[in-house]
Point group: C2
Chain length 115, copies 2
């Protein structure tokens, strides 16, 4: 499996380092659900859940799919996307090499010479 870039690692870790979002993933592992149902299970408000879902989707950890129920109601189902990221001093060090610098974005693209 291909490794993640440093920026991807940051995005994934930031998305997962939140109790609500961890619980969302934990719930979706047991099967896809739609937003309102998920909000009831997790005991949080729907707008709050939507924010967290957007965050997880932006990190590529979940996907959404609009489905029309037989009663004609539009329901948005979310599913977990499979991912595997090993966190260790060495993997962090590897990821750090591919981080885009906030200051010098163009340097990171061409030159890799550090010291």
């Amino acid at each position: 499996m291909s490794e993640y870039t440093g920026d991807e690692m940051v995005r994934i870790m930031a998305a997962l380092s939140n109790p609500h979002r961890m619980r969302v993933v934990a719930t979706l592992v047991r099967g896809a659900t739609y937003v309102s149902q998920l909000a009831r299970e997790l005991q949080i408000s729907r707008p709050l859940l939507q924010v967290h879902l957007r965050r997880l989707e932006a990190a590529g950890l979940v996907t959404s799919q609009l489905q029309i129920s037989e009663e004609g109601k539009a329901m948005k189902f979310y599913s977990v996307q499979s991912f595997a990221l090993q966190l260790s001093p060495e993997s962090i060090a590897r990821g750090a090499n591919s981080l885009t610098l906030p200051d010098a974005e163009k340097d990171a693209e061409k030159g890799v010479r550090d010291e």
Copy 2:
């Protein structure tokens, strides 16, 4: 290898989901260094680095040790602490089971007694 609790996972991921702190870990993997030297290598200000180091130390990812150089100067050396955290939908689901609820979080943080 023992697993981390959900709270520990959150703390570790939050600590690592920052470019500066990833670079700190990456640098320390190549050997322990002291604060000012580390700040020069990473091209960031020393106060900023100290904040990030405190963050990493609070998550248990690095340790510090005060050393007196031969010239009598006190230098604070930091080293990486070994850690291994596998991130996957399943590991997140397991961690989510041991998360302390938001209500109990305040008690655990403010209260002097743990359990």
